[in-house]
Structure formats: C-alpha cells, structure tokens
Symmetry: D2
Subunit: 259 residues, 4 copies
C-alpha cells in the first residue's frame, strides 16, 4: 500500500478543468503571455504588467547563444548519435549547472547578502561595496556575474537594466549591482561590466525570486534555442560528425530591423 | 586537425553583438514576446501578430498538467534522489516521446496527409474523411489527437480553436480536424473530441511547422511546469519518498479570475 | 487510489533478502562474475561458463573508445558545465542510439533474418548471402556492422570471433557473418571487415539476445569508460573549455603486457 | 581556430589498435574480467587478484534493488512516455546523487577523516570513534552508511565484509567501520548495521578510491539492472501507465541455488 496522500500546489486537474495556481487555463490562453504564466507557476502570483515585461525580456535574452555553449554542444552531440529531439534537448538542459548559467545563482547570493548587510548595518552602499570588494580581494574570490569571455559590454545586460529603469523596477539590487562594478573598478583596477548572468541575477532579486530557481529559469529560456539547435543538427548535418566548437560560421539571415 | 568549418543559421555571435535570425537581441527584448522569438528561431521568420498570439496560447496551454504525466513524475523522481534542478528537469523533458506528447506529431501527419489527398484528388472534405475513417476502421488504427483519459471536452482544445477562428487563422487543417471528428462519430459511433495534442497539431499545421519539431515545441512549453514541479519537490517533500502518482491532492490557491 | 498491483520478474526484495531471478545476492557475490549477472538479469537464466566468458569479453571490448565518440563528448561537455558525475554519464548514455552503437541492432536484424531465410528456404548459405547482397546493392542499402572509420581490421572483432571459436560458441550466425563479408567483397568489390558492432551483434545472436536489448548491453559496457572520461574531465580540465574532438593526445601509461 | 591540443590518459586509439591504460584490448578480452577493467580505467592500474574479486562482488551487490529506487522508477517512467531504452536508462542514472547512492561518498569521507585523525593523533580506535560519535550526537548529525529502510542486517554488507576478510583486504577502514557501529550502539543506543552503501564505502577506502568516484561506480553497477527494468517496462507494460512504486509484486523465478 502507498503512503499518505501528498500535496501539490501548482495545477488543479479535474475532468474538463485545468487551473494553474487557481487560474483556468482557457482564461489565460490568448490573454496572458507565456512569460507571465512562467512567473505565476514559479512565484504563485501573477506578475504586475511591468514585471511581466521584464520576465519576458529575460527569457528572450537567454534563449540562445549560438553553437558554443555546453548546452548547445551537448544537445548536438547527443543528436549526432541518433537520439530523438527531446533526448538531445534534455542533455543540453542537464549541462546547465554551476559553470554554465550558475553565475546567476552566485551573483544573486552576493547581491542578496550585500543588500541584507546594508539593511542590518545601516551603512551606505558605497562603504558597503568597498568592504565587500576588499574581502573578495583578500581571499582572491571573484564576483560572479561580472565580465564575459566574448562581450566587453553585453547588449543583453545593458538592455535589461534599461528596461528595468523604464518600468520603474530598478530598486536597491540594481543600485547595488552598479555600485559593485564601480568598487571593483576602483579597488581591483578592472572595469568588468555585468554580463547577462549578472543582469538576470539583479532582475530576479528585484522580483524576489529565490536563487535556487535561477538555473531553472535559464533552462526554460534556453529550451527554445536548444530545440532550434538540435533540429538544425538533425536536418542539416550528417550523423556522428565531429563537432568542433570553434570551427563554425553563421550563414543565416543578414541583419535586419524589427518592425 | 579538425574538419572543415560547419555552418549554423540560428544565432550570430560577435563581440558585443548577438542576433537571432538577423534580429539584434536588444531590439527584441522588451518588444517581441518570448513566444514570437521561439517561432522565429524555429521557423526562421517572425510570426504575424496573429500567429504570435496563437503560438503564445499553445505554449500556455501545455505548460503543466499536474503531477501525473511521465514528465512530471520522472522529474520529481530524479529530484528525489538528490540531483540538481536542471538534471531533474532534463529527465522530465526526455520522457516526452511517442506516447507522451507524441500524438501531436501523429495527428499532424494525419492532417497533412488528409489535406494533401484532398488537394491531389479534388475530392470534397466529407468524402475524403469518410474514406480515411473507413481505412482506419478496417486496419483497427486509432486517430491520434482524438479522445482523452481525463477530459471529455478539453478546455484547451476548445480555446485554441476559438482563438484560431477569432484571429482568422482557421484554414483547411481546422476544417479537416472538425470533419474528421464528425466522420469518426458517424462511422465508428464514438464522439471523440480533439484533445490538446490534436488541437496543437492542427494549429502547427496551420502555421506550417514540420511535424518533427512538435515534440520540441511541447518540451519548450512544458519546461516551465517542470521547473515548478521540481522546485516544489525539492523544497516541500522529503528525499527518497515513494511518489505514488495517484495519491495526491491539490492544495494551491482557490479558483480565481484573471483580471 | 492506485491501479492494480503490477508485476516484475527481476529482483525480489524482502527484509534482509535480495534475490536476482531467484538467486540470493550473497550467493552470487564473489562467486559469479558481474558479466554473468548481467546475462542473468537480461536473459533470465545463468549463462553457461562459455557464454559467461564471451559476455565478459563483449563488455570489455566496448568499455571505452577514447575521447571522440558522441557518448564521451556529450558526457565531457555536460561535466564541463558543472553538472555532477552521474548527470554527465547519463548524457553520454543517452547519446547511444541509432548511429552510435545502433549498428549492433541493425546487424542483428540482418543476421536474424538471413538465418531465418536460410532455414525456411533450405538454400545453402552461399546462395542466400549472394541474393541478400544483390538486394542491398539494388536498393543501395548498406550492411550495418561492416567497415569502420578508423580500423581496417578491428582487433576487438577478431578477438571476439576467436573467443567464440575457442569456446565452441561459433554457430550459424558466425558462419553467416563470415559468408556475408565474402559476398560483399565478391559482389560489391569492397573488403569490409566486421567492426566491433557487427562482431557483438553476431555474438548476441549466438546467445539468443533480442535485438532491442543491444543498445542496453552496449550502454552497460560503456558506462565504465564514461565514468573514467567524466572523472578525468572534472579533475584535469578547466570548466567551460571548448572541447575540440580532434585536437587531443593520449598521455597515459605506455604500452604494457597483461601479466 | 581551436585551442591547443588537450590530453587524455585513458584510452589510446590508433588504426587497428586500442589500448586501455597501456593494455591492448584484445589482450584483456577473455582474460581479464570486466570488473578488473573498470578498476583499471578508474585507478590507472590493474587490481590485484583479490582486489578484482572484491570489485566484482561490489558491482554484483548493487546491480539492482527492485522496482522502488528512484533510478528504477525514473527509468521506467521515461520509458513509459515512449523514449528509447538508452534515454530511459540515462534518466535512471541521473537520479543517482546525494540521496540515492550518495551515502557511499558520505561514508567514505567519514572513514577517511576518522583514519586520518587516528594517524595524526596517535589515539586508539576506540577513543577516536567515541569522540566522533559524541561530536555527531552533539550536532545531531547522522552517520551515512549505517541503517536501512528495509534491511536490518543487509546480506550484501555482511557478504562484502566476509569477502574482504577472506581475501586479506580488511584493513584499518574495516576496523574503523566496525568500531563506529559499536560506538553508535553504545553512545546513541541504536544498533545500526552498515547498509550496502556503507559496506561499499569501506571497501572503496580499502582499495584507495577517491570519494568523488563513488557515485560513478554505483552507476556502472546499476546500469545493468536499469537495462533489465526498462526492457521489462517496454515489453511487458502498457505505455503511460501510472507507476505506483508500492503496488508491485515479484513474479519471477522461485528461489534457487547457485550451482
């Protein structure tokens, strides 16, 4: 015999009725965008209009990053052995961890702790980030979310911060993120702009997501790109090829304007 | 030494520049919804406004179906062993295959073939679906996308068809899907409404997606629910519990209106 | 409430008692080798002494093939993102499919059908393989299990056939495999030695395994190499490196004799 | 262009030549059992005859534990959605983590630290385990590797310790494991026999394996059972069934003697 009944607070299923967190699916469809429903499922409540837009921008920002991240390469490699599309996408998702996307969680923890310290100590932000950078310098730790292998000024970060400002969602985590960059520059002598992981971390803090969820949000976003990567591998490449991550070229549509 | 340079037509990455199918990411963020960008990555072109809304409604329709589908159970079970969130979500994604979500692909193939036959034979729809149902009856085959274990009239299907009508996207695949239901009722004596797989299949046909992509689109949608399921398992349940798929109860928010 | 009790015929678990297919685990441990227990679990009966040795040799033959197969690359790539060892190994396992290891199943089906045809037609082997090769030639099909990208005379195949001969396990499938090679050479003008997939396929036919199990047996074997590959990646390489499948060198122990 | 050549010390591949850690594959096949080759790949050197037997017994001890562990349930659930055998096995492997099999690593760390403390402090074992148990008691920590949900005296543990004694492989880790059980009984009032995770941990310490490898060794072993579980699910059960982990019955061969 089984154990006692267990509880779940996500989706209610009854004959001819499906409700996510209390909202009937047919009421949501066509009216509430996917990004808002993701927010709803993960946080339990609907986002404000502004939060919904920011959430959507975050999902768009990370949907793909070309053929070189471990997720794309793992997915393509598994597809190359002949596995079905979903098996290959799953392998890609499973590569999202400490080093791939993990800086979001790391950066969230830094920002959450910094704001917590600010609140409890009553110190001003400048003093506080100064102390923090000295601590990291002394222990040779790096700040997750700052700096990028490819991009010196990541367009995704710049845009996320701009959207947050426009929408009035830039609060003390955004302030902390900016101050930290200044302090790193001043005390470590390196101007490290926030990368997209850092920018997403800041936005997730502003919207009160738990850091443990961050890899999941990244996975939801990236699943879109992974389906595209695997489908391209399956339809355009020969099986069992050796996938050199460095030797590829973009041959898709030329640059164009969003209308 | 490596083989020759390989080509990819999805995302162009250059220092400080990321473009999906030619569109700069910062132009898309905050302006073009996630569902449209998924459509863009998979089809290569932006959806029309109407197609974007339909795509979004499809993604919302399948984001979760409670704790009993194999994807949710596999993900929760893997989480229960102590694996990270993304590993568990990946296991869930990997369960999406022939029997779980696979009816979308199966139904697409039926509809594509039926419309193709109609075009090439010049027969009217009623005659054609009549012949098709007789063939299936003779060989005891079932029509994928019709009938559901739980729902006799699936609210997601009803809503998807309604949205397609409203938006002027209901074309010959929608007509074929309806006619097939009538013919099944008439000739097999069973009134089998289209389930959500069938409805999604019909919409994907209307928007000219290849059937091979259908499981991938389902996976993108369901990734949202899987993150919620795994996070709930990790934070609310004890590890290594025996997850009885039948003995659970919903204890989330009560039914409420979308404002 | 749950559905009715379901049945499993593999392992019986009671307090302080574990029995695989009727054999108590403590009776097996230290007396019956792992390869024999794999055979037992998959076939339901203990192998003969000779079958056990052949099974063991098969498992050893496929345990690793360096850093280039999709399984090793997928596993290393997932590890590179920071995933745990088992997550990475799982990604490797999941790449074993139609093109990677799948020739075992394909070759088994050819051999099973060929021997079946021989039995039912009463034709001699030479006539039968002649007809088969003509059929494949006419439809431009290739024989799975023959030829290799790297090895012109695969030492694993040679050894497996030699072991089967020594042990008296070489029966009509071995005969058929050899005859097929001769007929391919004669009628297609190409001398394609059996690769290890073909040799394993032949042995699995001789031991009456179903073709549907073949990828699983390959996965059991390869899991050994994948743990070694992932552990090396985790302990010796830096995270998020770009893993070029062609640009690696062996720097392990020099060649040595088995004592 | 790619980065510099990277190094791997596991398998050397040249045309018509495959060598694991310096040993030609054809020399190993049929002469050196699979368990020894696993040991070779993971440790870099051949085991002694005694170590090979112990390694083999460990692999046999964990090959399956019926239908209820997360690995079996995850694998069956993924198979139930229609995924291929290897995809389902991979999901099972990926569930092996902190709570499922993870006690091996935890127990190894306890034993390694305890023996290290003994060596550095010069204290006798009884004193040392006494202190250790008091520490755990004070901080309400549990000793991984002791106690089992189902088995009060695990036949696998008993047998592994017996084999180690017989073979002369029972050294200071075995002594420490026994002493710890006595101290737990004396100071915590609970007689907790070592479970199979604890026994394997002890043996891996005696053979000088790193704790980080332990989940991998468990995965190699369990891959055997997972293939059997998935194959049974695929051939004996209907797709998409609800797999109640508690409502199953063994209907395989009756108990029998190893001949």
């Amino acid at each position: 015999m089984s154990e006692e009944t267990w509880k779940t607070g996500i989706t209610k299923i009854e004959p001819n009725k499906i409700a996510y967190k209390g909202y009937r699916v047919e009421e949501l469809m066509g009216r509430v965008p996917f990004a808002d429903v993701v927010f709803l499922l993960l946080k339990g409540e609907m986002p404000s209009r502004e939060q919904g837009i920011l959430m959507d921008a975050m999902l768009v920002s990370s949907i793909d990053h070309g053929a070189t991240p471990p997720s794309a390469l793992a997915a393509r490699t598994v597809a190359s052995g002949g596995a079905p599309l979903t098996t290959a996408v799953a392998a890609g998702i499973s590569s999202i961890n400490r080093h791939h996307g993990g800086a979001i969680e790391g950066c969230m923890r830094v920002l959450l702790e910094a704001v917590e310290r600010k609140r409890s100590s009553g110190k001003d932000v400048a003093t506080l980030v100064g102390e923090l950078v000295e601590e990291y310098k002394a222990t040779k730790k790096r700040f997750p979310g700052y700096g990028h292998r490819v991009h010196t000024e990541d367009p995704r970060s710049t845009r996320l911060f701009a959207i947050a400002e426009e929408l009035g969602l830039a609060g003390e985590y955004v302030e902390m993120a900016h101050s930290l960059r200044s302090a790193i520059k001043e005390k470590m002598g390196r101007d490290l702009p926030m990368n997209v992981d850092g920018a997403i971390a800041t936005m997730l803090c502003e919207m009160d997501f738990p850091p443990e969820m961050s890899n999941g949000i990244f996975a939801i976003s990236r699943s879109g790109g992974l389906v595209a990567q695997v489908y391209e591998e399956q339809t355009r490449m020969r099986p069992m090829r050796r996938i050199d991550p460095s030797a590829h070229e973009y041959d898709g549509p030329a640059e164009r304007e969003v209308k």
